[in-house]
Symmetry: C2
Subunit: 283 residues, 2 copies
Amino acid sequence: MKTYFDCFPCFFHQTKRTGELLEIDENTIWKLLKGVSKILSEADINCPPPKTASFVYDFISRTLRNPDPFRHLKRESIEHALSLFKKVRARIHESSDRLESAIRYAAAGNVIDYGISSDFDLLNELDTVANREFFKWEYHEFLKDLKDAPWVLILGDNCGESVFDRLLIEELKRPVYYAVRGAPIINDVTKEDAISSGIGEVAKIVSTGCKAPGIVFDWCSREFLDLFKSAPLIISKGQGNFETLSDKGLSIYFLFKIKCTVVAKYLSCPLGSLYFGKSLVIS
Amino acid sequence: MKTYFDCFPCFFHQTKRTGELLEIDENTIWKLLKGVSKILSEADINCPPPKTASFVYDFISRTLRNPDPFRHLKRESIEHALSLFKKVRARIHESSDRLESAIRYAAAGNVIDYGISSDFDLLNELDTVANREFFKWEYHEFLKDLKDAPWVLILGDNCGESVFDRLLIEELKRPVYYAVRGAPIINDVTKEDAISSGIGEVAKIVSTGCKAPGIVFDWCSREFLDLFKSAPLIISKGQGNFETLSDKGLSIYFLFKIKCTVVAKYLSCPLGSLYFGKSLVIS
């Protein structure tokens, strides 16, 4: 997916929100906004937004001299999710279709986000997801593909969400590789965060080698690209991964919440919709 | 008023909307957005937003090689307003307090805007303004000041709105100078537009000498500044003039509709409020 006009103001909103979330002084927020302006003046708009987001958040990190500015928010998200873990697992275990239920809760977990918006309500999302209608729900096709898949690759997204991904991994009943960002960016899950989320106990954690809040092939490691190409089944979590992979004609199950008007328009669906299925968009 | 964080994304929204309003091709809109990014990276945030807006719209004009890109929209606004002129004048003449009524319709006319938003409903505004509660309504103080004022200076704002300003001028019952922008910018009223609006028949039209969509003293002509300083009573129309003059400690009656969240927050009032009175904000 390429960059759309409305992505430009969104990068400012993200920068401002980051400044406020991290309780940064006004002068520094201005420094960030002006630096981001310069980045946007040179941005390649044919790239998906997460590629430009890498430059934006890298600039924020460098300006703040903090390689992981969202560290405490990521930790909080993981701890909050872990406090709900047993309850959600019990719900999944009690449901008539545990895998379906686990997919739903993994989608609900995707509501956690400090990039696009920090205004989310995890508890409400978890309470309602069992009965929510998904904009796309290719569950039966997925079951068929899963049957033939000796192992699965999950592309992780955000911290906290990662805790509920563990429950999905448990229900897949086969080996799983869980791909994480190559370095901290926004509240995206890194190796350390995945371990804190308990993923290490149920899957092999692998790095994409790429710091972007999405999968930018040019920036991924050779090892990850080999794994990606050989994966019999891929579940891609989150909007950032969707934005970078949606138009590549790949047979990937995207599982995410549609969080911005640009992606909603791209998919012709209402903002806030839940999505589980392949992408039919071809660039 | 200085520039606020939310002004930055707004400049992008304005640029995008301008591109769409003027039916500009996608590549050129991107050129505009990237050029505006560069302008913002160098912007002086201690200035009021209309000063930066001058650079933004000047860049748009130069890129489009069109010194007056909103010309046809300005003409449409004036013609639309002129088609309503007699009806509104009749309403004012029928009202129990003609001056009060004229002030209300002059405020309603301020809804016309192609800068901050192009999503306005003039007819609805005109139909409801007679009974609307203003956020600030210093009418009685204004009457006292008017009594002692041999002449009045009105700072004009947008085309179309200018037609209803004529009705206000008629009710002031004394000589009026009507100040217009020194050159075309957005849909702001210039000398030519003021004449088309019928202002020339009831007031002396003067140029500020400044192209900004507001009053930037540094850019105004000596003649205008002398007039401004000697004016016994000033009515400032529109948000752009408010943004540039609100914190100067001047005894000016601002008459406008609050069209953006930044100004609404600045004044601690709801978005869409109507305002008629002096500003108590001191920078």
